[in-house]
Subunit: 246 residues, 2 copies
Amino acid sequence: MMRQTPAESPTFSPLYRQIKELILQALENGEWRPGEAIPSETELAQRFNVSQGTVRKAIDEMAAENLLVRKQGKGTFVASHNDPRAFFRFLRLVPLSGGIEPAKSVPLECWRAKAGPEAARILNLKLGEPIIIVRRLLEFAEKPVVVDEIYLPGETFAGLSLEVLKEHQGSLYSLFETRFGVRMIRAEERLRAVAADRTSAELLHVPEGSPLLSVERVSFTYGDRPVEWRRGLYSTAAHCYYNELS
Amino acid sequence: MMRQTPAESPTFSPLYRQIKELILQALENGEWRPGEAIPSETELAQRFNVSQGTVRKAIDEMAAENLLVRKQGKGTFVASHNDPRAFFRFLRLVPLSGGIEPAKSVPLECWRAKAGPEAARILNLKLGEPIIIVRRLLEFAEKPVVVDEIYLPGETFAGLSLEVLKEHQGSLYSLFETRFGVRMIRAEERLRAVAADRTSAELLHVPEGSPLLSVERVSFTYGDRPVEWRRGLYSTAAHCYYNELS
DNA sequence: GAGTGGTCTAGACCACTGC
DNA sequence: CAGTGGTCTAGACCACTCG
């Protein structure tokens, strides 16, 4: 195990961060799959030749970032979008009336295209590289609430089709994770208010021109690599976007 | 210093959380004011009769919650809304074009009223208790972008007036903090898309009926006491609401 | 140089899980 | 019961700030 070169080192970083980086690499390399347990703290301490407390601090940070999940008495696990508790992590929509409703994803279309300038820039692709576009509806209690258009890099998601989407139970990200080995780590969202265009209005059962919440999202996987660009139109007649500031 | 009653205790909580609670109480009691330094970790350890590491863990959590701010080599400070770095903590609005613009708050009106059923419920007041209502405009680069209507408990903010609002430089929360001793700790926001009514449209220089982002916020101070209810209408023509999910 | 927070260690013990 | 994460301690040393 490398030690930190004391003092003068220009790239100084504390030991526990180096450990964190090593664990992160192991995660990226797929050494442990989502949902699996990683080795115990004492094991990792031996492996990296540091004390258990140092490993602990590394894991602490990664747990705070939702990369790992600790379970007392059982072990530490790689976070997974298959975990039902993670379902609402990236979906901030709640009913105005309070309570929780089950969401249902209804895929509408899925086709291939070439990356235009905007998609290329956002997804970090070259102009003209293949992309996949998905249109889908999100329903709460049988009523359409969100219409999404999702842009994905074609290479990473080769084999994605409307059939695959329709077969899958659970969230889109759990599909991406189990079928394509792509784990979404974090996302940026930009919200605006827009007027409903004709087709969105029909899909969401609202009058054309009525105000909708436009949510643009870019999602990132390990190494801050962008792997999804999504634009959703939310009908906020019976639901709202909920956010906690602290 | 109390110790934790081992095992059987029904109200078990680790020592560092008890310390955290004690520090929190000291904060609420105003033992140290916002911006001031709290005693050093070793001092607090002596005062509470625990090890420095235990105090450290308590402070770690409070720093993560933005209640305290650590500064290596200097000390640990009570977080303050006067701190310019805290300015954008509760304002998620960013220009579409990127970059950062200075925001300017323009108070329009300030009047007294009695709490209706909704305000009473949200602010945890009795029906008919005095409240203060503020209307104000938020401008970016001299252009109006947000119109806010803000409901405050009259008792807590006695003495608030349009003149006071106009005199103050800086954010509203910094005014609340320095003048009324109320520190906002966290907030909940609910976003929807709505159509601009007549008066809002005029204030924001947009056509009547055009889509606006409605942001309802409830802010809390120590002890999760609600002390502000706010409804803002955001023009998202040149700005958007930015949110990070992780 | 003195004082602060930040890191790292080693060891003891507690709390929870599952066999 | 053994194995896991969770807490607590005590002490050493590093990094940063300021007078």
